[in-house]
């Protein structure tokens, strides 16, 4: 039996894979192309189709996850549009730096080392910060998305950035007020890294929105997803022009991820904020290790390390998404026990 030209087993596999990615995407606002593209490449799809279909899938999932986060009041459209403007300029500059490094013959090694250091560095920093400050109780109050955020919850770097009152000042969700120029500078820097590394940049943008601009984590996730709708839509359109988007891959993946994104988005309002950060950090550390293993395999021509890298990525994705679901169920159970009469 075939569905959309795929065997039934393959179709179900894609739905399951989509479900896994959807949970991570809805929960962290990242993880789409990071997981899908390498998996499709290992399955034997041409690079153009793997990247294009991955982008189209990321686009569809980000639409669903953004709508879900919007329902919970977790998307700051003003901040999102400013981030898109700054990020686009940064990506162009990052791309130019890559082209220059290519002429010097140094692009591959510098990009790989930067990617591993950045992914691992952010992962270690986020995990450390979350474990250090893990004394909060309960989840996040999403009904009060517009309420003033507690000053103790704003990271020190963000407080410093917010202290520069260069007009015009922009009011953001959570009662945060930041200079327009500083938002554009952060957006430009994240775009530059994104263009330099050739990645979507969710893993850079989400922590940047929280640690540098100071918006609460759920709003950072929702706003990051809103930006991915545009970057994913444009990227997949450009690949579709060259026949790089295969609907037989995208449609089943999306069917699974649409459900997963709902679960992941809803989990952000149940799971403790520090737990979100720990999972995010561990996911990045797993990713950094996987990229390092893949690069070693490429440099020394050891093909099996590519498969080891994919197993590491999928393993950490499965582990982290499982932990997210488990933490949500545990939090709901505890909530049920504390609210039931003694």
């Amino acid at each position: 039996m075939e569905i959309l030209g795929l065997s039934l087993a393959m179709f179900v596999l894609f739905i399951g894979f989509g479900l896994l990615i959807g949970v991570l995407f809805g929960f962290f606002g990242m993880g789409g192309s990071f997981l899908v593209t390498p998996a499709l490449l290992v399955m034997g799809y041409p690079t153009r189709v793997a990247v294009g279909s991955g982008l189209a899938f990321v686009f569809g999932t980000s639409v669903i996850a953004t709508l879900k986060h919007r329902d919970m009041g977790q998307v700051d459209y003003k901040l999102g549009i400013l981030m898109i403007a700054g990020t686009t300029a940064g990506i162009e500059v990052g791309k130019e730096i890559v082209l220059h490094l290519e002429t010097l013959g140094m692009a591959g090694s510098i990009i790989s080392v930067t990617y591993v250091v950045l992914l691992g560095g952010i992962g270690a920093f986020v995990t450390y910060e979350a474990l250090r400050g893990g004394d909060d109780e309960g989840g996040i109050d999403h009904d009060a998305a517009d309420a003033e955020v507690d000053a103790d919850d704003i990271p020190d770097i963000a407080k410093k950035i917010q202290s520069y009152r260069v007009p015009p000042m922009i009011s953001l969700r959570g009662g945060v007020s930041v200079s327009l120029w500083l938002i554009l500078a952060v957006a430009f820097a994240t775009g530059l890294l994104s263009g330099f590394l050739g990645v979507g940049g969710g893993f850079i943008r989400m922590p940047a929105l929280f640690y540098l601009i100071g918006v609460p984590v759920p709003i950072a996730v929702g706003t990051d997803l809103f930006e991915i709708v545009f970057s994913g839509g444009l990227g997949s359109f450009l690949y579709a022009l060259d026949g790089g988007v295969d609907l037989s891959i995208v449609l089943p993946l999306l069917a699974g991820s649409a459900f997963g994104a709902r679960v992941g988005s809803a989990a952000t309002s149940i799971v403790d904020e520090d737990e979100i950060k720990v999972y995010f950090g561990l996911m990045l550390l797993g990713g950094a290790l996987a990229v390092a293993v893949r690069e070693i395999g490429t440099v020394y021509g050891i093909d099996v390390l590519n498969t080891v890298s994919l197993v590491l990525i999928l393993g950490s994705a499965l582990l982290v998404s499982g932990a997210v679901v488990y933490s949500s169920i545990t939090a709901l159970r505890e909530d049920g026990q504390s609210s039931s009469p003694a």
């Binding site: 189209a56 899938f57 686009f59 569809g60 999932t61 639409v63 669903i64 709508l67 879900k68 686009t88 990506i91 162009e92 791309k95 263009g195 970057s231 839509g233 444009l234 990227g235 997949s236 359109f237 450009l238 579709a240 022009l241 988007v245 609907l247 995208v250 449609l251 999306l254 069917a255 649409a258 459900f259 709902r262 169920i329 709901l332 159970r333 909530d335 049920g336 026990q337 609210s339 039931s340």
Partner: protein, 53 residues
């Protein structure tokens, strides 16, 4: 990343590409509404069950 050269030369291929992306968007919208209806119908029941109420 805006590739202006790709836009300039898109022609009929551009319409096909837009249809493909439109199909993805349509599926996303249908799934959002469909799963949303399921969540409304069964969401509370599932949450209550998980809470042990």
């Amino acid at each position: 990343m805006v590739d202006l050269a790709a836009f300039a030369s898109m022609g009929a291929g551009g319409a096909d590409a837009a249809m493909l992306i439109g199909a993805v968007l349509l599926e996303a919208a249908v799934l959002y509404v469909g799963y949303g209806a399921l969540e409304q119908a069964f969401g509370d029941r599932v949450v209550k069950q998980l809470k042990g109420e």
